[in-house]
């Protein structure tokens, strides 16, 4: 790909510019990979050097430190306490004590069970006196996986704290040497609402994110490498175990077992997901913009009324309107019955029965739902386009189309580019519309039974739902598909993000 100068680039037409950008993106991939590898190497080297320095530093602290510094290697916080920094020292000590107590009371068990995910499932014993089977629960794979991961997090936190504790001793020595006064507990507390205020503010959200976002994601990813399912639920029945990459093999295997292979089914669903996301995003975008422009046009009366009418569809909760519309288009629904009673058709139109009809119908209904939102978003932006641009173009003799393609659209794309991207990825995971309208129907009769009862309008996300709640409750497959959805979405976002005008030509409209 030839590197163009700014002047050459600006001479190109709009489409050629886009092509150029796409081309240079793909051309830059090999280079990018090499660069990535090099920086990865640098990163590793840097980390190694950092680690070496760290270790040297730790040893130096030990060698040069006084008795309290040496003792804090074992009992954290001794150094601080010995030098009168009671608060810091006690906090270190408390953390160590909590850690030790946790490890003894449970941590060691969770950690030791993590490689096997449990050794003994529940047992039943007949109690002749009460004439009943009594259950005794033993290992629980689910909890082992969850708390095992939590324990690892805890250990990492301990190592980090221990390192901070060592560094404290070095710091104390330095400050003492320079003759300054050490910070007291009072100073520490005061700084938390002063120069360290950001830490105070972020402590709670950070803990929350760690516990409620990072930990579950970590856990869910790990599930993809186990056989966690309805029949191996890890507790009341069989324990579940690690299966390595078996589940990914299943997903990508072309071997047909009892119907279509898993890979073929996955491919079909993925293809439809992409087609759906494309149409759902762009039909809404352009039609919504069109409606907004129509209403904005000078000479249109009752502007507020038209907008209100359209916004009414937003006022009704989406799931109610979707369920209702789904019934309307049924074989014996309002629409078919009406057309038939008028004598226009002799048999019902297969809105939900035929795969192609069903796919087109969901896209059309989605337009009906989506236009009002887009109209609202674009109305504001359209009003924001400087009117002098239009006036001067009119003087230059531009017609409406030229104005649209040269002024309106570039401006809109510039402002709403990031919105388009998020709406595309949002549509890839648009569970509501598909699930409530068709539930994935009509069923793909060729798909194997292991793939659940996947249908022609199922997106990856609704398929995932079916697999989790279906006859076999294959949580592991759902996790694998979840990871695949992430990979696809991440890839598309990355490519598109690089090509967005709002990122590429940041100054265009400033």
């Amino acid at each position: 790909m030839k590197q163009l100068t700014d002047l050459e680039y600006l001479k190109l037409s709009k489409w050629k510019r886009l092509l150029h950008r796409l081309g240079s993106f793909f051309a830059s991939i090999p280079h990018g990979i090499v660069n990535g590898l090099i920086s990865l190497g640098r990163g590793i080297k840097k980390a190694a050097v950092g680690l070496r320095d760290d270790v040297t530093d730790i040893f130096a602290t030990f060698r040069e430190g006084d008795w309290s510094a040496k003792a804090s290697f074992l009992v954290m916080g001794t150094g601080n306490i010995a030098h009168g920094q009671w608060l810091r020292g006690l906090l270190f000590l408390l953390f160590e004590v909590v850690f030790i107590v946790y490890m003894i009371t449970g941590g060691i068990y969770w950690l030791s069970m993590l490689p096997s995910l449990g050794k003994q499932g529940p047992t039943l014993e007949y109690d002749p006196i009460y004439d009943i089977d009594v259950v005794t629960y033993h290992d629980n794979s689910f909890k082992i996986l969850l708390y095992g991961v939590l324990t690892i997090f805890f250990i990492v936190a301990l190592i980090y704290t221990w390192r901070v504790n060592i560094r404290q001793n070095k710091l104390i020595a330095q400050i003492k040497r320079s003759g300054k006064k050490l910070k007291s507990g009072k100073d520490d507390l005061r700084s938390l609402v002063d120069d360290q205020f950001h830490k105070t503010l972020l402590a709670l959200p950070l803990t929350g994110i760690l516990l409620f976002t990072v930990l579950p994601i970590f856990f869910m990813i790990l599930v993809a490498f186990t056989n966690y399912s309805g029949t191996n639920n890890g507790y009341t029945n069989n324990l579940f175990t690690w299966v390595g990459l078996d589940n990914f093999n299943t997903l990508l295997s072309w071997k047909a077992v009892g119907g279509q292979s898993y890979a073929a089914t996955f491919g079909e669903v993925l293809a439809w997901t992409l087609i759906w996301a494309f149409f759902a995003t762009f039909t809404n975008y352009f039609l919504g913009m069109m409606v907004a422009m129509l209403i904005n046009k000078k000479g249109i009366k009752l502007k507020k009324l038209w907008r209100t009418v359209l916004v009414m569809t937003i006022a009704v909760p989406q799931f109610i309107s979707l369920l209702y519309v789904s019934k309307m288009f049924a074989k014996n629904g309002l629409i078919n019955n009406f057309l038939m009673s008028m004598g226009w058709i002799t048999k019902a139109l297969p809105f939900w029965e035929d795969p192609t009809w069903a796919r087109i119908t969901v896209i059309l209904i989605n337009i009906w739902i989506g236009i009002p939102y887009l109209m609202l978003i674009t109305t504001g932006i359209l009003m924001n386009i400087p009117q002098d641009l239009y006036e001067s173009s009119r003087i230059d003799g531009a017609n409406a189309w030229q104005q649209y393609f040269k002024i309106t659209l570039p401006y809109m794309l510039f402002v709403t580019g990031p919105y388009l991207l998020t709406s595309f990825t949002g549509n890839m995971n648009n569970f509501n519309v598909i699930y409530l309208l068709t539930g994935g129907a009509p069923t793909n009769t060729a798909a194997s039974s292991a793939a659940g009862s996947v249908g022609y309008t199922d997106l990856l996300i609704t398929w995932l739902f079916k697999i989790t709640t279906g006859a076999e409750a294959q949580y592991y497959m759902a996790s694998v598909i979840g990871i695949m959805v992430f990979v696809v979405v991440a890839l598309i976002s990355l490519v598109v993000y690089r090509c967005l005008p709002s990122i590429k030509n940041e100054e265009d409209f400033q």
Partner: protein, 507 residues
């Protein structure tokens, strides 16, 4: 000797006393959670009060009654057994899943005996896995029959599927019979021609074998009948009783839709058993599933509480409570005495159901995936253009059934006394991998077996094909309609298949 006897006697006395003391200690108050359908929530509260007032053990139940539909209960239980209800109700198709997930505690020996003798055989089978009873029968009315609009379909037409379809097409109204979305309904055609799909579970609820004859000449007749229905532009795949309000003239559904449909059609409502269809001049009466709802008790860690809850579940599914539910909500009882009561016998919906029951198949235990596999047959049938296409639909079905057991269909399997007649055997021991097989025949009353395709029960080769070693097996003549091979004595044999001939050599 005397001393020993006295020691034994004292010991026996002590044991009886402690046992007696334990039995009395069921007395107490127990906090439990119960999931029942919304419509019987209040009734259940009243029934629990009755139980508290009348039970002989001094049990007081403080129940937190929550409305959870029978369809959702199983999924909620499996998701988290520990947090699930102590007593919950579910449709029988969820039974095996629940046993597998360890969400059901088995009935005690005495309770099991009472349940077995007082309920109809179909529901007892539905609550049994292996030899163990895991749940209390709640109803025996989960079947379907025909509701029709008398103003559209004349009474003389309701016995013929073709006539009903013709009437509906003429009136431009729909015939609702759920096909592509439910195997429970579309299996009706297969049962009409005598096909079966029987599954076997062991004591843990794991499926061990299947006997399925959908892919057979009879199955082909069934799909021909099905094609007549699904090809009609006025066939509607639905079992919603409310369809009568949106242009349907006939709906195949169950007793639960009775009040809804009565409200829509009023005096025009007709109720009867399912019609017959005709293929090649022979008439086949549509079959149906005959299922039930069950009440289960979650395994308890405290035996005393467990025993108390079991007593309650037993009471709630007894004759009195079943009759109360029938009177309040028209739930068809499973209790034999309740079924025989005049009030039940006079309900037109239940009469239609009981008439249809003559053609019905007890639902038994069915693999969860079967519902997904079998429901798509009717879509394939609809898309088929000729008999080859119909056969393709059945082949597609058969492939998927076979894959459930990871069956290796490349070799024949010798099922029999030696492997517990398991036609889905996953061990390599009984397959004719290279045309021959070494077999250990254990001593038993019937030392026989048959050579089949894995997953099927139809004898592929048998007694008639034995050319070498005929002296080692019994010639049972007319007593051997299945062409079984029955060894005369136990021992180790080598069986070889060469083309169509079988040779047997004793080692």
């Amino acid at each position: 000797m005397k001393k020993l006897l006295s020691v034994l006697l004292t010991l026996a006395m002590v044991l009886t006393m402690t046992a007696g003391a334990f039995a009395a200690s069921l007395e107490g108050t127990y906090q439990i959670t119960i999931w029942v359908a919304e419509e019987v929530k209040d009734l259940t509260a009243k029934q629990i009060e009755d139980f508290n007032a009348t039970n002989e053990y001094g049990i007081t139940i403080v129940a937190n009654i929550e409305a959870v539909s029978e369809a959702d209960a199983a999924t909620s239980m499996i998701t988290d057994v520990e947090a699930g209800a102590d007593i919950f109700c579910f449709a029988q198709d969820q039974f095996a899943r629940l046993v597998q997930a360890g969400a059901l505690s088995s009935l005690g020996k005495q309770a099991a005996e009472i349940v077995r003798t007082s309920n109809d055989a179909g529901v007892v089978a539905a609550a049994t896995s292996g030899d163990t009873l895991y749940a209390y029968p709640l109803t025996s009315d989960n079947g379907y029959f025909l509701y029709y609009d008398k103003s559209v379909i004349p009474d003389e037409d309701v016995d013929s599927l073709e006539a009903i379809i013709a009437d509906c097409e003429k009136a431009q109204k729909y015939f609702a019979f759920e096909m592509g979305t439910s195997a429970w309904y579309n299996a009706s055609f297969f049962f009409a021609t005598g096909c079966v799909s029987e599954w076997k579970t062991d004591d843990d609820g794991t499926f061990i074998s299947v006997h399925d004859t959908f892919n057979s000449p009879a199955g082909l007749i069934a799909v021909k009948g099905m094609k007549k229905l699904v090809d009609s532009p006025f066939h509607l795949s639905s079992s919603d009783g409310a369809s009568f309000a949106s242009n349907a003239a006939a709906v195949v559904t169950g007793i639960w839709a009775y009040t809804t449909i009565e409200g829509i059609l009023g005096d025009n409502m007709g109720v009867t058993d399912l019609p017959s269809f005709e293929v090649d001049g022979v008439s086949y009466h549509l079959g149906s599933y005959n299922g039930c709802k069950l009440m289960g008790v979650k395994p308890q860690t405290d035996p005393i509480k467990g025993a108390a809850i079991h007593r309650l579940a037993q009471y709630l599914t007894g004759e009195k409570c079943q009759m109360e539910r029938f009177e309040a909500r028209a739930w068809g009882p499973s209790n034999l005495a309740a079924q025989a009561s005049p009030a039940v016998q006079a309900n037109p919906g239940l009469v239609a159901l009981y008439t249809q029951n003559a053609y019905s198949v007890p639902q038994g235990q069915i693999h969860g995936s079967w519902w997904d596999i079998a429901k798509v047959i009717s879509d394939d049938v609809k898309n088929a253009t000729d008999d080859a296409g119909l056969q393709q639909a059945l082949d597609n079905y058969y492939d998927k059934i076979s894959s459930l057991f990871n069956l290796d269909t490349s070799a024949l399997l010798f099922v029999g006394a030696w492997n517990g007649w398991n036609n889905a055997d996953e061990s390599d021991t009984y397959y004719f991998k290279d045309g021959s097989l070494t077999l250990d025949v254990p001593a038993s009353d019937y030392m026989g077996g048959r050579i089949v395709n894995p997953g099927s029960w139809d004898t592929d080769k048998g007694f008639a094909q034995v050319t070498v070693g005929a002296d080692l097996i019994k010639d049972l003549g007319a007593d051997n309609p299945d062409n079984n091979i029955v060894f005369i004595e136990a021992g180790n044999y080598t069986v070889t298949i060469d083309g169509d001939a079988i040779s047997i050599v004793k080692n």
